[in-house]
Amino acid sequence: MKFRIRLNIKGIIGLTIILVEVFFACFPSLIVFHNPHEMNYSAIFLGPSREHLLGTDEVGRDIFSLLIFGTRASLMVGFIAVGISTTVGSIVGLLSGYYKGIISEVLMRFTDLFLAIPRLPLMLVLVALVGQSIWNIIIVIGLLLWSQVARIVRSQTLSIREKSFIERGKAFGYSDFRIIIFHILPNVLPLVFANAILLMGSAIYYEVTVSFLGLGDPTHISWGMSLHYAFESSAILYRAYWYIIPPGVAIVITVLAFTLIGNALDESFNPKLRER
Amino acid sequence: MNIINIRDLKVFYRTHKGKLRAIDGVKFSLNKGESVGMVGESGCGKTTLALSILKLLPPRGYIEDGNIFYKGEDLVQKSEREMRKIRGNEISIVFQGAMNSLNPVKTIGEQISEGLLLHTNMSKVEAFDKAKESLISVGISPDKLIEYPHEFSGGMKQRVMIASALVCDPQLLIADEPVTALDVMVQAQILELLNRLKQEKKLSLLLITHDLSVVAETCDKIVVVYGGKILEYANIEDSLLHPYSKELFRSFPNINGPRILSKGILGTPPNLINPSRGCRFEPRCNQSLKICVKEEPRLIEVCDQHFVACHRLKTSGA
C-alpha cells in the first residue's frame, strides 16, 4: 500500500504547529521553570513579568506553565477520541456500504440517529453521569463523533463496490472479509485519514466546551479548565487579560492547525480539489 | 475558399518533465463545405488541435507558434472576449462523451436556446422557436423540448448536443469522437445525421476520431496525425500511402475484406517531450531507411491533393 502525500504550504504550517505542540506535550518541563500546580497566595493576578511570562492566576499559579502543560490534555483528547470515532465509524461505514439490505438499513438508521442528536447537551449529560474524568470525556467525545465518519466511509464504499475490481475479486473466490479489508479499505483510507485530522479540531473544541462549562477533570490541567477557572474567578473584573487570552489563542491555533492539515490532505488525496 | 487555414501551428504543454510538444508544426486547411476526418491514436494531438482552434486549451497548454486563420482572421491574436463571440456562434464543438455535459436541472429547450440568447438579440420566445427547429433537424420530436435530460437515452442526448451546437448556424462544426461511446445502431444514426446536416446546411466539418471507418463513412478528406505531426493528407477515395496509415487501416476489421486479424502496430507512441530528430514513426516503422533516423520527412504532394510525409515515397517517386 502506498500513500503519496503532498502537503501544500498551508499544510506544512499546520503540521509545524502541531509538531511543536506535540513536543510541548511530551516534554513540558523542558520549557517551563514553574510547577504548574504550585500555588502562591502572595502572588495572585500578577501581570506578565520576567518571572511569570504570562502572569499568574487567582491562586498564584504560573499561567505560562499551565498553558504548556495543558497542551497534553488537548492533544490527548484529540488523538484518542478521534481514534475511537474513526475506528467505529469506519467499521459501520464499510459494513453498511458493502452489504445491501437489512444490515445496511439498520446501521444507517442508527448512524442517522447519532447525527440527529444534539451533541453538546448529550455530551454534558453523559459526562455528568459517568463522572468527570479525562478518560470519560475522551470516550464520550469519541462515541459521539463516529456518525460523521460512518457517513463518509459509507458513501465512498458505495462507489468503490461498483468498480469492476470488486466483482473481479468475487470471480477469484475472495471472501467478503478479504474484499472489505484488502480492497475497499485501502481505497477509503486516505479520505478517512484526512477526515480524522479535521475531526481532531472538533474533538478539542468539545473538550474545551465541556471543561469550560464546569464538567472537566479538575485533576488535569487543560486549556478548557484554565478558561473555566478564569471565568469562575472573575478574571475579567480584575482585567486579567493575560489569564483569558492565552488559552483561547492556544485553542484557536490548534484547531486552525488541524484544519489546515486536514484541508491540505483532502486536496492531496482528492485530485479534483488540487490547484487548477 | 478555405474556412480554416492552420500554418505551422505549435502547441505545447508545460509538464514537470519539460515541454510536451503536443502539436509540432501542423499545416492544413479546411475548405468551406468540406468535411475532414482526423485520425490517430490517443495522445497524438487530435483533441489538442480542436481545442486550439477554439482557444480552449487547458491552463498548462499554450500556442507556442503559428497561425490559425478563420476566414482570413488570425484566431491566435484574438482576445478571450473576441473568441467568446466566435465559439458556439461561428465555430461549434461537440465533445467526446458530450451526453454527460447536459445540465440535469434545465430543460432541453432551455439548454439549446442558451447559445442563441448569448450570441443574438433574439427574445426568449424566438430563441425557443429556433431551438425547436434545431431539435427537429436532428430528428427529435419538438414536444421533447420541455423535458429534462434524464428522460433521454445516450443517443438522444448526443443529438441534443449536436442540435445545440448547430442552433446558431455555425460555419464550422468540430466533432471530437462524436460516436465513440455509443452503440453500433446509435452510432449509425448519428453518422447518418451528420451526413445529412452536412449537405443540408452546407456545414464544414472537422471530425476527430480514432476510428478510421467512421471517417470513411462521413468525410471527404482524411488527415492522419501521429506524434503531433501530420503524416498524410488525402482524399477519402485515395488509398493511403504512408506506412503508418497503412498499418492503421489494416488494424480495422473490414467485413468486405479477408477475415484475418492483423498483428497491430507494435511499439508505443513517441515521447513528445524529447522527440527524436528523425521521423516520428521511425521506431515503429517496418520499412524505415537510414535517412529516417537522421532527418524528418516533409509533407510533400505525391499526386493531386495527396500529401505524404515519408522518405521512402520521395526516393521511390524521384
Binding site: 477469484f172 473466490g173 475472495y174 | 453500433v184 445502431m185 452510432q187 476510428d211 463513412e217 498499418e247 476489421p253
Partner: protein, 332 residues
C-alpha cells in the same frame, strides 16, 4: 465436447418501486434482463454474444459463471450443474471460470501493484503459501501476456500503466489460476485501435496455448466476425439468431441481424452499401412488448409479429433463427 451448456436461463431483477406505489400495488415489477436463453459452447470454441447495450449479454455471461444469481434455468459446466451445488463445492469450480472486464481502469485495484494483484488469487486458492513464493509463476504469466521484462512490472501500480498494459495485467491475473472458460466482456472496446489488435492477437494465442474456451461479448459485429467461431445475436434478453459466424454475417436471416450487419462501419469508402437504420432505441427490459419483442422496430413486421412470440427454429445446419417471417416463407 460441450464445455458449458445453459438451458432456459432467466435472470430477472426486481425493480425498486417507490414506497407510495408499493402501498397500492402488490405486484412486484421485474426487469427481464435475460429471458430464457439456451445454448451450448464447445470446448476450445470462441462463442460470441452480440447485441446493443442493455440487451442482457453481460448479465447472461455473469449468470453463467455464477457472479449473478439466475432466477431459473440450468448451467452445466463439463457435465456438472453449477447452480445446484453449494457454495463450498462451487469454490473448486470458481477458478476454472474467469472473466475479463471491459474497463481496464476500474478492473484493477489502484492500491495494489502488479505483483500483488496477480499473487492474490494464487494465495487465496492455496497455489502458493506466501506472496514471495509466486515469483516464478508470476514472471511466467507476465511473459505470456507480453509484459517484459516481467520483473520491471512487479512494483508498478495501475496508474503507472497504459490502458493496454492494464488490460494485459488484468488478463494475466485471470489466467494465473489456469481457468478453461473465460468470459471476455468487451475486452478491447476501450483500447486504442492499434493496441486493440495486439491484445486480441495475444488473446487468441493464449487460447491456443492454454486450450481456453471463450465467451466473447461485444457490440462490435466486425470484431465478432473477425475472431469468433459461432455467434449469437441477442435482443432484449433473448437470442434472435445463432449460428456459425461466417454464415450469420454473410447470410443473416433475422431482420435485426440484417440491420446490425448493414451498419457495420467499413474502413473502405467508395462502395456505399445500403444501410438499414433502425428507428428508436431498444425498449427497456421492464416493459417487453407483446408478440415478437423486436416488432416495434422491425421494418418487415407483419400482423402475426404483434400477436405471437416466435420460437427459435433451425434454419439450416447449426443456424437458428427466431422470426415468424422465416417460418412463413418456408411453409408454402
Amino acid at each position: 465436447m460441450v464445455k458449458i451448456e445453459i438451458k432456459n436461463l432467466k435472470v430477472w431483477f426486481p425493480v425498486r418501486t417507490s414506497f407510495l406505489k408499493s402501498l397500492y400495488s402488490k405486484k412486484h415489477q421485474y426487469s427481464h434482463a435475460v429471458d430464457g436463453v439456451s445454448f451450448k459452447i464447445k470446448e476450445e470454441e470462441i462463442f460470441c454474444l452480440a447485441g446493443e447495450s442493455g440487451c442482457g449479454k453481460t448479465t447472461l455471461a455473469k449468470a453463467m459463471i455464477r457472479l449473478i444469481k439466475p432466477t431459473s434455468g440450468t448451467v452445466r459446466y463439463s457435465g456438472v450443474d453449477l447452480l445446484s451445488i453449494g457454495k463450498n463445492e462451487f469454490r473448486s469450480y470458481r477458478r476454472k471460470l474467469q472473466i475479463i472486464y471491459q474497463d481496464p481502469y476500474s478492473s484493477l485495484n489502484p492500491k495494489k501493484n502488479v505483483f500483488n494483484t496477480i499473487a492474490e488469487p494464487l494465495k487465496v486458492h492455496n497455489f502458493i503459501k506466501n506472496f514471495s513464493e509466486g515469483k516464478d509463476i508470476i514472471t511466467q504469466i507476465l511473459e505470456e501476456v507480453e509484459l517484459t521484462p516481467a520483473e520491471s512490472f512487479f512494483g508498478k501500480y495501475p496508474h503507472e500503466l497504459s490502458g493496454g498494459q492494464r488490460q494485459r495485467v488484468s488478463i494475466a491475473s485471470s489466467l494465473v489460476l489456469n481457468p478453461d472458460f473465460i468470459v471476455a466482456d468487451e475486452p478491447v472496446s476501450m483500447l486504442d485501435s492499434s493496441v486493440r489488435t495486439e491484445v486480441l492477437y495475444m488473446m487468441l494465442r493464449l487460447k491456443k496455448k492454454r486450450k481456453l474456451t471463450y465467451l466473447f461479448i461485444t457490440h462490435d459485429l466486425s470484431l465478432a466476425w473477425l475472431i469468433s467461431d459461432r455467434i449469437a445475436i441477442m435482443y432484449l434478453g433473448k437470442i434472435v439468431e445463432m449460428g456459425p459466424t461466417d454464415e450469420v454475417v454473410s447470410n443473416p436471416q433475422h431482420p435485426y441481424t440484417k440491420a446490425l450487419i448493414s451498419v457495420i462501419p467499413r474502413p473502405t469508402s467508395g462502395v456505399k452499401h445500403k444501410k438499414i437504420i433502425l428507428k428508436g432505441n431498444p425498449p427497456d427490459s421492464m416493459n417487453i412488448p407483446a408478440g415478437c419483442r423486436f416488432h416495434p422496430r422491425c421494418f418487415e413486421a407483419k400482423d402475426i409479429c404483434k400477436r405471437a412470440e416466435p420460437s427459435i427454429v433451425k434454419f439450416n445446419k447449426n443456424h437458428y433463427v427466431a422470426c415468424h417471417l422465416l417460418s412463413q416463407k418456408r411453409k408454402p
